[in-house]
Amino acid sequence: MKKIKMLVLLITIVALMSTAACSGKSNTGTTSTTSAGTTAIASTSAAPQEEYVIKVLFEGGKTVDRSDLQEAGKVIKEKFNIIFEWVPFAGNYIEYSNTLLASGEYPELMIIRGNDQVKNFIKAGALLPLDDYLKGSKYFTETYKVLIPFWRMIAPDNKLYKWETNVLRTVGVPTEVAVRSDLLEEQGWPLLRSTKDYIDFLKVAKEKHPTVDGKPSFGMVFPGADIAGIWFPRIVAFTGDTYFQVNNDHNIVYNLKTQQYENYLNQSIKESLKFFNDLHQAGILDDECFTDTYEILTQKLKTGQAFSYINSRYGGVDNKALIDSGHPEMQYISMPIQLASQVEKNEKALTVTSIFSAYESVVMTKNAKYPERIFQVLDWAASDEGQLLIQSGVEGVDYLRDENGIRYRTEEMWTNWQNPEYVLKIGTWQFKTLIGRIATSPVDGQAYGIKKVTNTDRIKEALNKYGWTETSGWFNDKNSFVYAALFDSMISIDPASETGRLGIQIKELINNEQTGLIRASSNDEFERLWTKLMNDYNKLNPKSFTDAYNAELVKVKSAIDKIK
């Protein structure tokens, strides 16, 4: 019996300890959520002096950060006595937000991925309309004047339930290829543009350098095992002036010339895939690319083992690491790429800007304790002062101005801006995602975010050879900026419907077959596989999918006309 007594004693002790340790804090959490619903209505009378801590679920982040420890957050704390607590989240965000919606446990402020989900929240009556607060707005209504009617469109009662961040920004930027500059130098600084140029260039480079520091070298790399990396072999199809890749599912394309959606598989896609097949046949394509995750890819770029990397805008190039490890000459610079046929026709590369960003919607829910105070922050964030602080940080700390008033990064910021600890401390990243970021709207002639980046000596040297001032210099000289009003984020096809399902099937089919195409050992085999893919694709009846998209487009356009 002694043993049992001991056991019981032990359990009670441990249980008491745990309740003492955890309940104190967890209680406050539960009370705040339960009281939130009731106080929501009476909130207007609440004293603004009271410190207001808002928990915000944030994809990414490793530990909890409090905004009052961050530069921009300090100002918000001072002005509004509001503190954001960034709670990290990892995993399936959509599934989790579904669970929250179904149970009513949603937080006060929530980032929502896509209009579909916002609609679900509106339907369930979980959101708070912002209309009541708009009257007192100083900046918000003005800054987002163009967008607010569109944001209202998704609500059946035409009320404003959401705002978007990262709006008015460039969505379609020309694809760039990062190329090791010492190899360019070796071959006399050639301008690489067409897919043919790349094959010739990389062939020579690979012959000269089968290894880098005793480790195998790779001609061209991309993260094929990455969720986003899988479509990179088709990316060159979108470097001309016709097609634009619209949705994240990669199963439909938008033709900018006809202003219509078109079937995904077309001649350009084929050419792009053929380019990768040519790389493979020439032994320049990284054999491991299909099993490389993004992280493994970054390792290859850090050591200079990779000669070139398609779509360097996806991130991963780390010139600082090359300098630190004693290979400053290897630093990557960006080169344009276009299909050989596009170069022949001398097509221009497009830069497409979109005004919407539905994937980054933010909503205020019925659980919000003091919605009015939240809106005050939102309103202030839409001002010049707010945007500058959110995007560029504090003057004197994060940036300085030169004699012409042009903002540039401080030395400290420049050396640290790739250091996660530092970036998290500044916190601009989180604020951008929560209370708005206007990407292209300028004040004093400059964008809110600092674009001017200091280049290293090596990069400057390389750019000089081409007569560029920036690493994507070619585009600035040759390309035309096309402002296309894209409606893709307004168009939503219910993923659970037959059409939505078809979209997934198309995506899966292409993803499955493309590897075989790239790895084809001969041109004949490539043609055979392509014909087979086209047959399978046509069997799925992709036309019906495209038609569904175009029908939605018509609807959205007519709705927009009504607004006008």
Binding site: L7, G29, S312, P420
Partner: protein, 288 residues
């Protein structure tokens, strides 16, 4: 005959030893990789085989242990790893014993009732609604109560008890011992090996669990466990810092250091439980 046998035995011993050494290598390698990586100078370490730290740097550990929240997470992890298995053993072992008692009315129903739950999954949302109704969302007890019944362990305990000769139980019953006493005083001590194994399962399960935190305590950082913090570090997508640059908030070395931290406790728990597994001495003694 004897000579042949001892030759066979020697051969057996040697191959046994070699196999164990081989197992040791393949089991230990990933740990060596992780440890070396976490201690390496991030600039020197690259791809491929890693056998020892290249350069030496404790930065990763400094970063991992840098924030005070990590210590709180470790505390919560230790708490659930202690309380969880105790609860689980109490509830599960008693039930495990009961379902061996053929003389108990309804024992077969009980068995089916328990075993079926192993294969039934109700889905995330209904479960969440029930947990919410119980007020367990955002509470420490979500870590303890749902896992207090482990049918898998229950069946293991049951089949272990069944392998014990019935005579022992019967003689105790003759003496007029009640079932409660019978279980805790006679059966439970004999079950030490399986209880040790099941405790280990329970402890490891509790230590490794992060799904419950992810689902029920996402918004309650004060209840984050070490494994959840590690999970966050491992799955956090690269951060978009603008100008088409993305960086890892959690560099690889940091994640490796975190992994090392989560493996260490097994070095503490296992040797304690190990003595209950080795050799068949205890049973013989009790029965004799």
């Amino acid at each position: 005959m004897v000579g042949k046998r001892s030759v066979n035995d020697l051969f057996f011993d040697i191959s046994d030893l070699l196999l164990m050494i081989f197992t040791f290598i393949i089991m230990a390698y990933p740990f060596i990789y992780i440890l070396s990586y976490s201690l390496s100078d991030p600039l020197k370490i690259t791809t491929g085989l890693v056998l020892y730290p290249e350069g030496f740097s404790l930065d990763a550990y400094k970063a991992a242990l840098g924030s005070p929240s990590i210590f709180h997470a470790i505390f919560i992890s230790i708490l659930r790893t202690t309380i969880g298995p105790i609860f689980m053993i109490l509830v599960t072992a008693m039930a495990g014993y009961c379902i061996t008692r053929e003389d108990m009315k309804g024992v077969r129903i009980f068995r089916k009732y328990f075993v079926y739950t192993m294969y039934i999954s109700a889905g995330l949302i209904p479960t969440f609604l029930v947990i919410k109704a119980l007020g367990l969302v955002g509470s420490f007890w979500i870590y303890i109560l749902p896992s207090s019944v482990s049918v898998f362990n229950m069946v293991l305990i049951k089949s272990f008890i069944e392998s014990i000769p019935k005579s022992l139980e019967e003689s105790a019953m003759m003496d007029g011992a009640n079932d409660f006493y019978l279980f805790w005083r006679i059966i439970f001590p004999i079950c030490t090996p399986v209880i040790a194994a099941v405790t280990l399962f329970g402890a490891v399960g509790q230590w490794n669990a992060f799904m419950d935190t992810q689902i029920y305590n996402t918004m309650h950082p004060e209840l984050f466990t070490l494994q959840y913090v590690l999970y966050l570090a491992l799955t956090t997508p690269p951060m978009d810092i603008g100008e088409e640059m993305r960086i890892f908030i959690t560099p690889k070395a940091f994640r490796m250091a975190m992994t090392v931290l989560t493996i260490l406790p097994i070095l503490a728990i296992y040797p304690v439980l190990q003595k209950y597994f080795v050799g068949g001495i205890m049973i013989g003694a009790v029965k004799g």
